[in-house]
């Protein structure tokens, strides 16, 4: 097995050109090292470490857009002034990932590419309508994160591709947001259910646009368009938030069918959606 640590993206592309598909990208390794311990892990001959690629280690703004390099670790996002100011739901999501040790090491790119159904950054990024940039030795493409995943642990990425950056529009002052995570144990818990919400609210407290993205609820990530359209145009109130929760729970049953966990998940998801919406509306809720 060989290990490479390219310093720039061109060097990484050359390595992928040469070695893919017998290569594997490693970032923080917090998913990959666990995976490598499994007996049936298909060992790749060439390990390409992207953590030292400078261009992937930046958080920047470009006009009304925020751009996050894929090698940025969760702790940086959780504490970064630009993200806290313009996408607080993403810093909130990153601040509750794993433990301090995991947040110091795990990257946003790794979280997305690993495509675990309970990945905490993904619902937030879906609600933000983020786009991801994917680079291969010969070309570059950019796709909305909502079309990045096929199913849990499967994405559109090919073996010679690197996810380089994530970008999305900054939230405006009239866009309120929240990230809520329910887990078995407060810390170090992989999410049972998490939810990201963004509400665009007019001066007279009318919801102009609602975005709701739950994680670990549906087989793939999807926004709850039924609940979103129900909310839009309505005045903020506990009742409509409650109803949006019920709509989401019904949707879950429609999509996943009834299972052993349904009675639990149904009431929890309804309550959780409501709570996320109340949190997002913040002091505006009457």
């Amino acid at each position: 097995m060989n290990y490479y640590r390219p310093k720039n993206i061109d060097e990484a592309k050359r390595l992928l050109q040469k070695f893919a598909p017998d290569s594997r990208i490693i970032a923080g390794g917090t998913d990959l090292l666990v995976e490598m311990r499994h007996a049936n892990y298909a060992l790749k001959e060439h390990l390409i470490d992207i953590l030292k690629i400078e261009s992937l280690n930046k958080i920047s703004e470009n006009g009304n857009e925020l751009i996050i390099g894929s090698a940025i670790v969760h702790d940086q996002i959780a504490n970064h002034p630009l993200i806290k100011r313009f996408a607080p739901l993403l810093s909130a999501a990153c601040s509750v990932i794993g433990s301090q040790q995991i947040r110091n090491r795990g990257t946003i790119g790794g979280n997305i590419c690993n495509a675990s159904p309970c990945a905490d950054t993904v619902p937030a990024l879906i609600a933000l309508e983020a786009k991801v940039k994917i680079v291969s030795p010969r070309q570059e493409r950019e796709i909305p994160i909502s079309s990045f995943f096929h199913k849990p642990y499967h994405t559109v990425m090919k073996e010679n591709e690197i996810l380089t950056e994530i970008r999305f529009l900054k939230l405006n002052d009239n866009q309120r947001c929240a990230f809520y995570k329910l887990a078995r144990r407060k810390a170090l818990a992989i999410s049972r259910i998490n939810i990201a919400a963004i509400l665009k609210i007019s001066k007279d407290h009318i919801i102009e646009e609602a975005r709701l993205a739950p994680g670990s609820v549906f087989p793939t990530w999807t926004r709850i368009s039924d609940a979103e359209s129900f909310l839009s145009g309505k005045k903020l109130s506990d009742e409509i938030f409650k109803e949006a929760g019920n709509i989401t729970a019904q949707k879950m049953i429609e999509v996943s069918g009834r299972r052993w966990s349904t009675p639990y998940k149904e009431s929890v998801i309804a309550a959780l959606v409501k709570r996320a919406l109340v949190m997002a509306a913040g002091e505006l809720t009457p």
């Binding site: 097995m1 490693i26 390794g29 090292l33 794993g98 301090q100 040790q101 995991i102 090491r105």
Partner: protein, 161 residues
């Protein structure tokens, strides 16, 4: 195999290691620094916590190759000239050590916390050690020990860390 250079507790170490070898294995097996403990090896217990370039990491989840060029602080490097670190002393004074298995990782997480945030409240202390499991469940004493150092620092306002 790959050649790496680490600065461990101030000492430069040049090593040749297999690509798959973790930092944990290098510290324990190659350098004999067994203060860093091997627990779950999947990032959940924190017994293997070390400080790498100023940040706590689970050394079981870092390839030694990835640590090439890095500065590592393990529990063995915390005492200076035979003098215990204030957190080490506090752990002893507060009976925060039972079997001691979690202690090295716990103390390094606390060191890192107090560097980031010299005056943490109880919630912040608990958050900071959430990735360190104590199988003897001595959390109360551990939190008290960390708190005592934070409070002492507040009063002295000297830079004892």
């Amino acid at each position: 195999m790959i050649n790496i250079k680490l600065t461990v507790n101030g000492n430069i170490c040049k090593l040749t290691v297999p690509v798959k070898m973790t930092l944990l294995d290098v510290l324990r097996e190659q350098l004999g620094l067994t203060g860093t403990k091997r627990g779950c090896e999947i990032g959940e217990c924190g017994a293997c916590t070390v400080i790498m370039n100023g940040k706590t990491v689970n050394s079981c989840l870092v390839l030694a190759a990835q640590a090439d060029g890095a500065k590592i602080l393990t529990i063995e490097g915390l005492a200076e000239n035979g003098k215990l670190h204030p957190l080490q002393k506090a752990f002893l004074e507060h009976d925060a050590v039972q079997c001691g298995f979690c202690t090295p990782g716990m103390i390094l997480s606390a060191v890192s916390l107090l560097e980031r945030n010299p005056h943490p409240d109880e919630y912040e202390i608990r958050q900071a050690i959430a990735g360190n499991l104590c199988r003897c469940t001595g959390y109360k004493q551990i939190v008290e020990a960390i708190k005592s150092v934070a409070i002492k620092r507040k009063h002295d306002d000297s830079n004892i860390l």
